[in-house]
Subunit: 229 residues, 2 copies
């Protein structure tokens, strides 16, 4: 599949005239990253942005003591590294491939030029950034106003639709990563999953399998209306 095909399939570019797509395809540079490879590090200069074609990328912060907070996990069709590009400063966080990942890199100039030709591209990007701000708002709320069981319940309800097998589903990331996404550590996550299971909210099945037994209960937990015993 050639570059133009790739780009045309990305929701972000849907509905754009063919010349625009061709122009972007010309400017784009495909890059492949192996699992665990660093895509960029906090503090580096951003001269453009990436678009995920395949795989998953985590964007994260590290504390001096080595604790990690995942800011978001991005999959196919989502842009990465655009904040540095638009604010004209360095990357505020690092990015790493969580699995074999293919990315397209777009230099800043090509993108700015595209906006000049078709301002609707700007509106799309504004919508993407606005959605991202909304997600960050939710994360801030979680970290500041909710406790871990609440956050976890929210996550489970949101990702119920992940990799299903039978009536259960599988977490699509290792538990250590989930802990880092929820702003906690693996030990705590493990304990809370066990408590949820013992209260009949969920059923654990092997390392990654989870079955939701009491959806309402989880929803109450997520909203802070209920607490674990």
């Amino acid at each position: 599949m050639d570059m133009l095909q790739h780009i045309a399939l990305v929701p972000f570019f849907q509905g754009l005239p063919k010349e625009q797509l061709e122009q972007m395809a010309m400017a784009a540079l495909e890059q492949v990253f192996k699992k665990g490879q660093i895509i960029f590090s906090e503090g580096e200069d951003g001269t453009g942005f990436y678009l995920v074609l395949k795989g998953r990328v985590k964007v994260f912060k590290l504390s001096p003591e080595g604790k990690e907070q995942i800011l978001h996990i991005l999959g196919p069709g989502e842009p990465v590294g655009e904040v540095a590009m638009f604010s004209g400063e360095c990357f505020p966080a690092g990015a790493q491939a969580m699995e074999e990942t293919r990315l397209l890199f777009f230099p800043r100039e090509a993108f700015v030029e595209m906006i000049r030709r078709d301002p609707s591209v700007a509106l799309r990007m504004l919508a993407v950034l606005a959605k991202r701000l909304r997600k960050f708002t939710a994360l801030i709320e979680d970290l500041s106003l909710k406790e871990v069981p609440s956050r976890l319940a929210g996550y489970l309800l949101e990702h119920e639709r992940s990799v299903r097998t039978g009536s259960c589903f599988n977490l699509e990331i290792p538990k250590a990563q989930l802990a880092s996404l929820l702003g906690t550590i693996p030990e705590t996550l493990s304990r809370i999953l066990a408590r949820m299971a013992s209260e009949g909210l969920i059923q654990l099945d092997g390392t990654r399998g989870i079955r939701i037994l009491d959806k309402e209960g989880l929803e109450e937990l997520a909203q802070g209306l209920r607490r674990l015993a």
Copy 2:
């Protein structure tokens, strides 16, 4: 001072051709809010955005139990409520006037039209959203990876330049608000200020006065290289 004058002075619109400014001035609606008045609430629909002319606005989240987390405090020249407008969903947080405040309201359509006429407006807005994302990243990092003394030290260093009187300066917000901005509560903030004072890092002077005695010490604290005893 008429509307056009106001708009022309806002950094956000600087350098735009006169017709554009006139167009925006036509579309803008001035609104005045008293101290404490709600500008919009979480969950409402956003049909446009606001620009602060005078005063200060806080954007915040509330927990079911009533605890507040301030997301940011916006002053003259800064836009408010743009996330809802661009993402096409409801406001993700509430906004309230912290003092007598004058705002300009711009309906969504007028702004979109402006972008079509001059795409550079979109780039400015992208830069604003990107900077905001960066600030949220820092807040997430604070909440997840730093402890309160660290966050407070960072705040003091950033706002040293606020309202100065002599060699001290005054906090420009009440301590309860500062606590909410740092993701803690007034009692904890009070205790930590007292500890900083007893360690000779700062000197407290009345209700809002603060003098920084040991800037390096605060910087080490902010970076997590040092801890309070």
